[in-house]
């Protein structure tokens, strides 16, 4: 356990209220909330078009490939793209901040032996 004078709970509160942690939280939420809003909106747009505008979705573009299929495959494309973008963003913009902050919360305790 810690040798620090400050109890554990208060130390976490101090970290939580620090400038750096506020910045980390803003960084994280500033990315994931808008992206979540985007992919959910896009998904439900697709669902609503499918069910209430099926004639439009059935419009053939080439051969038997219609707008519905293209938009459906578009959902796959956006899912893959968001995954790539998020993973890169996290490694570049989030992880360094999170690790730096974790390192400052030192001596809370030492890991025990593996089980």
């Amino acid at each position: 356990m810690s040798n620090d004078a400050q109890p554990l709970g208060e130390r976490y509160i101090a970290v939580q209220e620090s400038e750096e942690f506020g910045d980390l939280r803003r960084t994280f939420r500033g990315f994931v909330f808008p992206v979540t809003a985007f992919f959910l909106a896009w998904y439900f747009l697709y669902v609503l078009l499918s069910i209430f505008a099926s004639d439009f979705m059935g419009t053939k573009v080439f051969g038997n490939i219609n707008i519905g299929l293209i938009m459906g495959l578009g959902q796959f494309v956006t899912t893959f793209a968001i995954t790539i973008i998020y993973v890169r963003w996290a490694a570049k913009s989030f992880d360094p901040k999170a690790e730096a902050l974790a390192a400052t919360i030192t001596t809370i305790d030492t890991p025990e032996a593996k089980d």
Partner: protein, 535 residues
């Protein structure tokens, strides 16, 4: 028609049984080799948190690409065309919720079970009870779907439609699954899931190439083939609305289903449990990244498999087969590669069911032993040995429940049954998970109202829906108390879960400042994870 012949005596039963036995023996041998022997709680529930992100991503794909994905979606696309495709899209997009909002924070704040996270800054006892209740309920629905898939699959292969034969098969699946979990714990189960994921993706890729080869590698021609084979549906097969466009009720049902699919994944206990099998949140992120690639790739292939079954086997033959829609993929395998391919594909589908059921059982038994037995009945004072022992009894109990439940549910479309599990998970678990991680004001009353309200409303609405009574395919034929028109309750029960979580929280003053700080700091920085894992 060769396809009609296929429906009545599909392949060679002796060959099929041989392949099944080979699969079971081989995977059991692997489980014994990698993970036999006595186990600590950590080894039993999380494989000691020692898997890499890539391994876990593969195991997640193995866990998630269940019988519903393979057999259910292929059948849905074969029969309902475009509407079946929606399942794949919802099941995939749902992973973004897990990737962006849940996986990493969840890994940073928990260790063994979902309740670890949900009770972190709330009152332990009531939260453990509520979470265990919800985990057991969701797992039950998911188990039903998998067991139903097993029964349908094997009855197809043995050419029997008799209830007794199917029930025996369901019982065998249950017994083998219990053996996997008892012997291998989470480590053994994870290995089975990884192996199965590789085999399944490989088999489906092979079938995709074989199907496309018959249509000059042209998706458009394949779709034309499906249309030509099904004149009753015609061009409607390619457009949305064949199943869900009939009336306003079915249209709303479609929206309800879509909501449940996209919000369900990140609330499924057995999916969340997988995030505990890796050591850090970065590895959890990597797990989801891999899972999205594998699962997305797989669902793209199911489009070809589904239309391929529609074009080469035909809707009439699928509907005539034992297992109906669930038989589309195996019948397609027979059409493409005769008894051998059918046997191999069915063996893989069978392994799929075993692996998924084993993962579900571990999660449910961990919740029972860790949350209910140890934390609630023994006030956290039980020894590891006692807890692991109880989890083993729980495995047997859950196996029995799954067997009897599966016997009841065997005629339902399994993709559809799984959608119900998603609805329950999204209503009962997701609101509390998100509020716990993101909303400062959240407290125990909000959590309890949300969990019991979400779970209760979802279950009641399912009981009053056409799924249970009052329709041709109802579970209780002959009776009719279906006063709720939608087959999927998500549209009502998910918003209700979120609303009750808010309402309960704002009417209660409870707030644990220190625990809130600890949870949020840990969730974002990963501080203290090593300690959480190790002791």
């Amino acid at each position: 028609m060769t396809t009609l012949a296929a429906a009545t005596s599909t392949g060679s039963p002796a060959l099929n049984i041989t392949i099944f036995v080979v699969f079971v023996v081989a995977t059991l041998a692997i489980v014994i080799k990698v993970a036999g022997g006595k186990k600590t709680a950590s080894q039993m529930y999380t494989g000691g948190a020692a898997f890499s992100g890539r391994q876990n991503g593969l195991a997640i794909a193995g866990d998630y690409l269940s019988a519903a994905s393979f057999l259910g979606i292929a059948g849905a696309i074969a029969l309902q065309g475009y509407d079946g495709f929606l399942y794949s899209i919802g099941f995939l997009v749902a992973w973004l919720v897990a990737l962006l909002l849940v996986a990493e924070l969840f890994r940073n704040t928990g260790r063994f079970t979902l309740a670890d996270v949900l009770s972190y800054r709330l009152k332990q006892r009531p939260m453990r009870i509520a979470t265990a209740t919800s985990v057991l309920a969701v797992s039950f629905f998911y188990l039903l779907a998998q067991m139903a898939g097993a029964g349908g699959l094997v009855s197809l292969l043995l050419g029997v439609d008799g209830a007794a034969a199917q029930n025996i098969v369901i019982a065998v699946v249950g017994v083998v699954m219990v053996a996997y979990v008892m012997i291998g714990g989470m480590k053994g189960t994870t290995w089975v899931q990884m192996i199965k994921a590789v085999l399944l993706i490989f088999a489906v890729a092979l079938m995709t190439v074989m199907v496309l080869a018959q249509f000059g590698m042209n998706l458009s021609s394949l779709m034309q083939g499906a249309v030509d084979k099904n004149p009753a549906a015609g061009d409607k097969l390619l457009e949305p609305g064949l199943k869900y466009g009939k009336s306003l009720t079915t249209q709303i049902d479609f929206i309800s289903l879509s909501l449940a699919l996209v919000l369900g994944t990140a609330g499924l206990p057995h999916v969340l449990q997988r995030f505990y099998t890796v050591p850090t949140s970065k590895q959890a992120r990597k797990s989801v990244e891999w899972a999205i690639w594998l699962i997305g790739g797989f669902y793209l292939l199911t489009l070809v498999i589904g239309y391929g079954a529609g074009a080469l086997v035909g809707a009439d033959a699928i509907n005539a087969a034992p297992g109906k829609a669930n038989a589309a993929a195996p019948l397609l395998a027979f059409e493409l590669g005769g008894s051998w391919l059918l046997g191999i594909v069915s063996g893989i589908a069978f392994a799929t069911i075993l692996a998924v059921v084993a993962g579900l059982t571990i999660t449910a038994s961990a919740s029972f032993a860790h949350d209910l037995y140890n934390q609630v009945f023994r006030n956290g004072e039980a020894t590891q040995e006692e807890e692991v022992k109880v989890s083993r009894y729980a495995v047997v109990g859950i196996g029995l429940v799954a067997i009897f439940g599966g016997m009841f549910a065997k005629d339902q479309n399994i993709a559809f049954l799984v959608a119900l599990a998603f609805a329950v998970a999204a209503s009962a678990n997701l609101p509390t998970i998100l509020y716990s991680l993101f909303w400062k004001r959240f407290n125990t009353r909000g959590a309890l109202w949300s969990m019991y309200g979400g779970l209760g409303s979802a279950l009641v609405l399912i009981a009053l829906s056409p799924v249970v009574s009052g329709s041709e395919t109802a579970m209780i034929p002959g009776a009719d108390f279906s006063i709720f028109p939608l087959a999927n309750p998500g549209l009502i029960s998910i918003p209700l879960g979120f609303f009750l979580g808010w309402l309960g929280s704002v009417t209660s003053k409870e707030f644990n400042r220190a625990k809130y700080a600890e949870m949020e700091v840990r969730s974002l920085t990963g501080h203290g994870v090593a300690e959480t894992v190790d002791h």
